[in-house]
């Protein structure tokens, strides 16, 4: 249970090595935390994330094998984790960016991105939602992106998967309204992570820790959508209003 003062006892990270999700775990109140499951593809990245959290003093950190693309396995993975105890906060944080130019040359890469970012998220998101609804409490945090707000020449395949995921997460939140479970859609701008390394910085680029603070504040206030950083909401409203012939000519 998340207690009366907002302190959770258990967290599940889907995409266990995600820097934003790990920063979020570190930003959550820690006094009651006793089970943190980092679910992801087994390997050094996942183990290192678990070690970092444990080293930072987070109690009960463990890893679980999870492959977003292997949707057939999702039911078993999610049921296994929830059968061992209620989960207060699930962070759906996996995703791949891909190189737009390579993707256009090799559509099979686009299918991979869509499979992980959208198909995998929809599959595991529904399994998680079923379990949260069954336990009658809990939050699902979905890492969307402003890239889904408006398609850009430089990353529209990625952006389209986030647009789909975002719509899915909004609808799921509505489906769960009143169930005791809720969905928080998070729309970060560009974040300095492994995913964006080497790319030129966009306006309002933030660090994972800043996104984490926005997520924790959003959970505390019971929000259903947050931008990170917050003012990005207004920038994106403006961006969405720009006519396409002009938008196309803007630096991407």
């Amino acid at each position: 249970m998340i207690d009366a003062l907002g302190d959770p006892q258990s967290v599940l990270v889907l995409g266990g090595s995600s820097e934003i999700a790990n920063a979020t775990v570190l930003a959550l109140p820690r006094a009651r935390l006793r089970r943190v499951v980092l679910a992801g593809r087994p390997g050094p990245a996942l183990d290192a994330a678990a070690q970092r959290l444990t080293g930072a003093g987070v109690a009960g950190v463990m890893t679980a094998d999870f492959d977003a693309a292997n949707t057939a396995s999702h039911k078993q993975v999610i049921d296994g984790i929830f059968d061992a105890g209620d989960i207060d906060i699930v962070i759906l944080a996996f995703g791949v960016l891909g190189d737009q130019m390579q993707v256009e040359a090799d559509p099979a890469l686009a299918v991979e991105i869509a499979t992980v970012n959208y198909t995998g998220a929809v599959s595991v998101g529904l399994h998680v939602a079923r379990r949260l609804r069954g336990q009658g409490h809990g939050h699902l945090v979905v890492l969307s992106s402003v890239a889904g707000d408006r398609a850009r020449r430089s990353n529209y395949v990625y952006g389209s998967t986030k647009a789909g995921l975002d719509a899915f997460a909004q609808g799921l939140g509505d489906a769960l309204a009143g169930s005791g479970a809720s969905v928080l859609v998070v729309r970060p701008g560009m974040v300095r992570t492994r995913m964006s390394a080497g790319l030129p910085e966009a306006p309002m680029t933030s660090d994972p820790e800043e996104v984490a603070r926005v997520i924790v504040a959003g959970l505390r206030k019971g929000k259903h959508t947050v931008y990170a950083p917050g003012p990005l909401r207004f920038l994106m409203t403006a961006v969405k209003a720009v006519p396409r012939p002009i938008f196309r000519k803007l630096p991407q």
Partner: protein
């Protein structure tokens, strides 16, 4: 395709919270009116278990259980008074409110009442509630002669302190985790009038209040002090009294001396900005409340409702803390830890947690129930809004002081302590768990509180 979406809630589900309106969870709610209905609800229970719920006055998550079947007992509410044995036999869902309305005019009073009469008999036993007479009369469980408990496998057990002491005392204070209290027989006390003769004293600071209580509490059946949590001094008002005798009333009042009409006067508005209760408004309220009471006054006659249940006059007063809700921090410390009372008031004041309901009381001896809260010493209860920043850390610091002093927190009020705190401060938890595991081997009965605290 005719498969049913697992996301669509069924019609019998409800979002439940405690009185503090924090940490909601959704459950299937059954509304039985008799024991047959209860048995049916038990048979058709959710795989996540069952919990009986009364009037929902526990502040935290004791009377809710996410995903489980919650049995709202308030429809199972029959009771009868046996004047010759001075006992009431009541269904688990009967409220002290209804019982008082019936028995006060007949010259009887419940053995223990908390600060609200809106509690059920089942809840009173499960939380082993206490009142202003704990220093002399103990908690509610001490006055229960027998109770009928429905177990997870559908058996109806009659428990008494003489024939089944382990099961009886595991159920008293057992927070509903041993079974469903279907009915109980408890002692009531004879009264001559429906009025309370009250002595009031003001204490200039916390030491003065505590000294006055130590000196003269034993002279009174009922005693409690209200503390001004905002004033640095810790000044307060002590009110003590007993049921008024007929010869204490003016002749003109004797004809109606057992009349009892605890009317609800107002209902708190449903939309209240969360910042309304702040240090300034609480300071103003406390100043007025302190001034309202005379320095010293003896033998004032008050109604039962005014003396015991002043807040029941304001329906849904829990809404004044706004949408984020509130919690009540209540601890007990032995006399050797009396200093924790002062420290906790200081710490709460420093974090900016305005409490206008801060109540100090002396407890008498404990009863044999392993999870019963009261122990001899001081108990302090303070309401604080959940929105206060940093409250979690401050209360953890207070927990540490309470534990070091040999005290503990009250499950019926708790919504945030840690499982480790419970293990440390309820040393008989394992003993209780052994009895519970025997009574409910399949762990049919569970609550959000039980899951959170790993009871």
């Amino acid at each position: 395709m005719n498969s049913v979406s697992p996301l669509v809630p069924s019609a019998d589900e409800e979002l439940l919270t405690g009185w503090g309106r924090t940490s909601p969870s959704r459950a299937r709610v059954a509304r039985p009116v008799d024991i047959t209905d209860i048995t049916v609800a038990l048979d058709r229970r959710s795989p996540r278990g069952v919990l009986a719920r009364g009037l929902g006055r526990s502040y935290g998550d004791a009377a809710q259980s996410g995903g489980a079947t919650v049995i709202d007992m308030t429809g199972v509410k029959g009771f009868s008074l046996d004047e010759t044995t001075a006992t009431v036999r009541a269904d688990g869902g009967a409220s002290l409110d209804a019982i008082l309305r019936a028995i006060v005019p007949r010259g009887f009073f419940v053995p223990v009442t908390p600060g609200t009469r809106m509690v059920t008999v089942g809840g009173a036993i499960a939380a082993d509630i206490h009142g202003k007479n704990h220093h002399g009369s103990g908690s509610f469980g001490a006055h229960v002669r027998a109770l009928d408990l429905l177990t997870g496998d559908g058996r109806l057990l009659t428990l008494t302190p003489e024939t089944t002491p382990e099961e009886f005392w595991a159920t008293v204070g057992g927070m509903g985790l041993t079974g469903i209290i279907v009915s109980a027989t408890f002692d009531v006390i004879p009264i001559e009038t429906s009025l309370i003769s009250v002595d009031t004293e003001r204490g200039t600071d916390l030491d003065d209040v505590m000294a006055r209580m130590l000196a003269r509490d034993s002279d009174y059946r009922y005693s409690v002090a209200w503390i001004d949590s905002v004033a640095a001094s810790g000044r307060g008002v002590i009110t003590r009294g007993d049921h008024a005798r007929a010869d204490q009333l003016p002749a003109g009042k004797r004809a109606s001396m057992r009349d009892y009409d605890p009317a609800v006067r107002i209902t708190a508005p449903s939309l209240i900005p969360s910042g309304l209760l702040n240090t300034l408004t609480v300071r103003a309220f406390n100043e007025a409340w302190f001034r309202k009471h005379p320095r010293q006054r003896a033998d004032e006659v008050q109604s039962i409702a005014a003396f015991f249940h002043p807040l029941d006059g304001v329906q849904e007063w829990n809404r004044v803390y706004g949408p984020r809700g509130f919690l009540q921090y209540q601890f007990v410390v032995p006399d050797s830890g009396a200093e924790v009372v002062r420290t906790s008031l200081e710490k709460l004041a420093r974090v900016g947690a305005p409490s206008f309901l801060t109540v100090l009381k002396r407890f008498g001896p404990s009863n044999p129930a392993p999870l019963s809260f009261p122990m001899p010493g001081w108990t302090l209860a303070a309401d604080v809004p959940a929105r206060v920043e940093g409250l979690d850390r401050v209360l953890d610091e207070l927990d540490e002081l309470v534990a070091q002093a040999g005290g503990r927190l009250y499950f019926a009020k708790d919504s945030r302590q840690s499982p480790e705190m419970v293990r440390r401060t309820y040393p008989r938890l394992t003993e209780w768990q052994a009895v519970r595991n025997r009574m409910d081997p399949d762990r049919v009965f569970t609550s959000d509180l039980a899951r959170r605290l790993e009871l």
